[in-house]
């Protein structure tokens, strides 16, 4: 039978906040360190590697652990380790660009809606309502297919679908901040219009939106890889993780590492980002944000 013994006297919740008073838990700190290591490896790796990600450099379908090819080679004789390092770099970079674009767009529109109010606020919020009612990933697929398969059209597709979430968040924060004491005081002392927004409102809405965006990076990595898997990324032989996995599927029976290793790298990147993000959220909760 299920029971919740530690919650009867709210002991559980007190302990949890007590633990959260530390910035990061042990697991989350490990995740952060691993994430940094992976970032460094994905930047330095391709430079150090003696192989090219797109020029064959050995026998075909060598298993992992072969001399000179730690993760083996694929059906064209390309070094898998070099390709996944380049792929990880592309993945991380694209995910950061996507979330940065999306959240900036959402921040701008949400701030405008919150500050101006009235009919503009109404129209913008009805638009976000409609967008939030769409099945995001499917619409993102349709948009990037219409723009022609490439990494940049995937990024545009995701950005168009996801900005409303950030716009909502930013608008809410702006409205909350606008009634706070310090904004009131700034208004009293004659601050108006854009300078009031930039100097007094934005500094307190920006962190919330930025942190929420950083929490989403892990998810965006997985979505971008899935789009690339179904053929919406850069065409072959680009070293993109989703594409590598989908191209490698036909070798699954005999050479599992060709499709599995790129997928594992996507999972690792997403997991590390999510885990670090969870820590970040915990820190915020502990600070009462």
């Amino acid at each position: 039978m299920l029971s919740f013994p530690d919650l009867r006297l709210d002991r559980g919740r007190i302990r949890r906040t007590g633990r959260r008073a530390l910035p990061f838990s042990l697991g989350e700190s490990i995740a952060l360190v691993c994430l940094l290591l992976v970032v460094i490896a994905s930047i330095l790796g391709p430079i150090v590697s003696p192989y090219s990600p797109i020029i064959p450099s050995g026998a075909q379908l060598l298993p992992p652990g072969s001399p000179g090819h730690l993760f083996g080679t694929d059906n064209l004789g390309l070094d898998v380790l070099t390709r996944v390092m380049v792929g990880a770099r592309t993945s991380l970079f694209a995910a950061v660009v996507t979330t940065a674009c999306t959240s900036t767009l959402g921040l701008i529109l949400g701030t405008i809606a919150g500050v101006v109010g009235g009919w503009l606020d109404n129209i913008l919020m009805r638009i976000t309502d409609v967008f939030l009612a769409f099945p995001g990933p499917i619409v993102a697929m349709a948009i990037s297919a219409a723009l022609g398969a490439s990494l940049s059209s995937s990024i545009i597709g995701i950005a168009i679908v996801w900005w409303p979430l950030y716009a909502r968040l930013a608008r809410g924060e702006v409205r909350r901040t606008a009634t706070s004491m310090h904004v009131e005081a700034a208004r009293m002392s004659g601050s108006r219009g854009i300078s009031l927004v930039l100097r007094h409102i934005l500094p307190s809405t920006l962190p919330t939106v930025a942190i929420s965006a950083s929490l989403d990076i892990g998810g965006v990595i997985a979505v971008l890889a899935s789009l690339s898997f179904i053929g919406l990324g850069t065409p072959a032989p680009a070293p993109e993780l989703g594409l590598m996995a989908s191209m490698g599927m036909q070798y699954l029976l005999n050479s599992w590492w060709v499709p599995v290793i790129p997928g594992l790298v996507v999972a690792l990147l997403a997991l590390l980002c999510n885990y670090t993000g969870d820590g970040l959220r915990g820190v915020l909760r502990a600070r009462g944000v």
Binding site: L2, A142, M249, A267
Partner: protein, 331 residues
Amino acid sequence: MAKFLLRRAGSLVVVLLSLSVLVFVLQRIGKADPVRAYLGANAPALAVTQARAKFGLDQPMLVQYWNYLVGLVHGDLGMSYSTRRPVTVELADKVPATLELAVWALFFAIIIAVVLAGVYSLKGPVSGVIRLVFFSLASAPSFLLATLMLLLFFMQLHWFPAVGRIGDPSVNGPTGFYVLDGLLAGNLAYSWDAVQHLVLPALAASIGPGVALARVLADGLSFGMGSNYARTARSLAESERSILFRHALRNASSPALSMFGVLAGSMLSSLVVVEQIFSWNGLGQYLSTAITSADFPAVAGVSLVLGAVYVVLTAMVDIVLALVDPRVKLA
């Protein structure tokens, strides 16, 4: 309640119309010229002009959209570039395939969510390990999960088949849902075969949404068990089990249900990937083929169908939510 239903139906229509506008605009800004795609790149200029007039592409945009919308209402999704057949005809037998898979995936997701929510409420190292494992699985893209399942359950253990919806397509049933068709035809072996084919793809698509749902459910349950109404119930000597099932679960199901929309969206996109891997002859596989061959009318058709299914589904969830949770109506 009537007012709520009316308002919800109104917003449903608005969203469906916006979806059609979006897909229409995407078709017009798309790189491929529909006439050139239809006639071939070397068609003479006269033929192009005639075809343009025939398809109504020389008319003002608003008229074109109106024609498009009228076509949609009549079930006309346009012609596929690659097969020259109406997209509606091509999709007809693929919709039940995807819906059958989606229903099973949803079923698995709910089981995973309820079981995990139970595990989350326990303490100790085992629970911690299970949480970590599922958190990792939920971060993984669905194509990796599907691949790993193929390796383990098909290639190593030989428990489940890997490809397609059925081994022997002998029953040609009325519904297109193979498990149901087998039952209707009294052919249990057929249904069992269909179930075996369903397990791996449905599981691969359900883990992500299931884990996300479990977290919301567990949060809601632990909040409910520590709330004032639970304390009141305890003071009235109600058992923990009865509080959990009669009060906490009902309160926790409302946030879990309202998250359903987001989950259904992510599940639909996982299905696209999973269908490709398991050669599941549904909308997803059709979509990825259409993407590779730059067949935009087909892409648009699938997006519209999936989009409409999703929008109608979320509207239904909203209505169920209003029935389960009376507070929603006030909002």
